[in-house]
Symmetry: C2
């Protein structure tokens, strides 16, 4: 049995019950009922997933998954393809936004080369899981073979499992991405599964102008027309119009769910990966927390289809795992409240509901 | 000249210019233009206020201002009045939500007794600035004398100034409140200044039921009818329908603005205090950052009138400074990005705008 099959088989349903014993536990805290709003929801989700009322969120890992895209040659991005590899170096030198936000929240960043064109030397903080040197141009044929699509998902699983096993477990993960042109496959993925016009889910990515956007919408349409991805087969969609790092993110979500580790997803590209994970195994969804609503146009559509309400809306659209970092901080805050707040009786505060 | 007059006189206009030299500085970072969204806005605000491009936000202080309210005897809260004093003890024992969130973000909590009914012994973390043992019932007459309204504002100023002078400056403050029944005066304050129905800005506070809400709306209307606060005189409004801790929050905002220290306000009650500060000196507004949108009904109206877009919307309505803590963390993150991110040239990342 492959790692992919084994991982999917082992994912268990988790029940997130806002009215059960976790709710009773929260209701003992010396606060007005439900006054911590979504922080209470986050604690409920975290405790449900981990089945642990007393967990301190210590080990936080953000996986920044990197890959190149053949479709970059169509001019769909404001940046040239070489920037993917340059940014990987920036991550490894700890100069990027995700490094700074990870340090801010006490998380480790692991960069995974899922298929960057550039070659990297082995280095601390980098996992080399290169499936190829960039995907093929999806306007001309599939991004990658079916086998490579599976391997890209397994690359994400391996990255998670290695870190989980080496580091004595993980308490929470965040996902992130780097890949010039990767909003294009992310748009094509959702349009492969859902009945939606390319115009509605194709945005400006790193910041292209109107004429380039019209061209990009056409590129998404051509990718779909040329490849005819099978919406009943998530691996087919990933291989036809996806990307190596998007497969890697799907793999992270599945491997993390298998180990009952909550997954905080970043923006548009991470959501594409998480969406594929949920198509492969719908039970994965309850392990996933949406950190923020990206400015990228199609993100809201993705989140609606996945029934996820993002925690933050800060007009961000950087990727890397920056939104995930801020989202992890919220879950961390929620669990600190859950494990440390005084109860009415302990704090000797009058509880009107007990009178 | 009184502390109040002197403080207001010294507040300088600060220009928050999203297109000036701070923008040029941000545009050098190795990220797509404007892709960090509101984090860029926060850095712009912080740098503009402090006039310091290199500030590390070290000293963070959340002031939790406490006071009792005579109007509690009208049954406008789900909690009995004694809870104000009990919660002050909970803050001092570090068992409350604000303590835990403050620790999460690396902030100190200072509790200020602006007028709690209960007497406290001097204790670390507590400043006793008691103006009275709770205000008078605003449905029967003014909450406090005009002189006490001024003194309550000066209590907040003193609390800020003492901490600023003792601790070698402050890099950012958050405001918070504790006072059973204090949503009622906060609703009455905005209705004193703006043409708005009491129904529109009176909410459930700590969680009252429908019949109690109808009664509370009537209480707000009676307070306004009995006191006829003068909308051109913020001190008159505060004395007629305000509260000691609300005056204290106004004083914090003014004193902090005077020292060019950014103020992150919490929810409904803090916004009432900040609103009064801005009425006393409109230049104060540019020093204020709205942390979150409270679930309390009238908060959105307040924020719209103050032209503040809150950072977070997490359905919280606890007060204490809990939302302010999360907001400070966002400003901290923004300034870490601003001071630590690598530029395109430093990171050797191709900048398409330079080609």
């Amino acid at each position: 049995m492959s790692l992919l099959e084994e991982t999917i088989r082992d994912i268990k349903h988790v029940d997130i019950d806002p009215r059960g014993e976790i709710r009773e536990y929260i209701d003992k805290f010396a606060i007005p009922a439900c006054s911590l709003g979504r922080l209470e929801e986050l604690a409920t989700i975290y405790v449900s997933i981990t089945d642990d009322f007393f967990r301190e969120i210590k080990k936080k890992v953000i996986f920044t998954m990197a890959g190149d895209h053949g479709v970059a040659e169509e001019g769909v991005s404001a940046f040239p393809q070489e920037v993917t590899g340059q940014m990987v170096n920036n991550f490894l030198n700890k100069g990027a936004a995700v490094n700074i936000l990870a340090q801010h929240i006490g998380a480790k960043v692991i960069v995974v080369d899922c298929g960057v064109k550039k070659e990297f030397e082995p280095l601390c903080g980098l996992k080399i899981k290169k499936i190829g040197k960039g995907t093929q141009n999806i306007t001309k044929g599939p991004a990658m073979s079916r086998r490579d699509a599976e391997r890209s998902i397994e690359a994400g699983m391996e990255a998670f499992n290695e870190e989980f096993n080496d580091g004595g477990g993980i308490d929470i993960i965040g996902t992130g991405d780097m890949g010039i042109a990767n909003t294009t496959p992310s748009s094509a993925i959702i349009a492969s599964f859902e009945d939606v016009d390319a115009e509605h889910i194709t945005g400006r990515g790193t910041g292209i102008k109107d004429s380039a956007l019209a061209h990009k919408i056409n590129v998404v349409k051509r990718a779909l027309a040329v490849n005819r991805p099978d919406s009943n087969d998530p691996i087919d969609v990933l291989s036809k119009v996806g990307g190596y790092e998007i497969g890697g993110i799907a793999g992270l979500c599945l491997a993390s769910a298998r180990k009952r580790v909550p997954v905080v997803i970043d923006g548009f590209i991470s959501t594409a990966g998480a969406y594929i994970a949920c198509k492969l195994e719908p039970k994965t969804s309850n392990y996933i927390i949406a950190s923020h609503k990206s400015e990228e146009k199609g993100h809201t559509f993705y989140l609606e289809k996945m029934r996820k309400l993002p925690l933050l809306d800060l007009n961000m659209r950087l990727g890397e795992g920056t939104g995930a970092a801020l989202g992890i901080s919220m879950v961390d805050a929620a669990m600190k409240l859950f494990t440390q707040m005084a109860s009415f009786s302990h704090a000797k505060v009058t509880n009107p509901n007990n009178e």
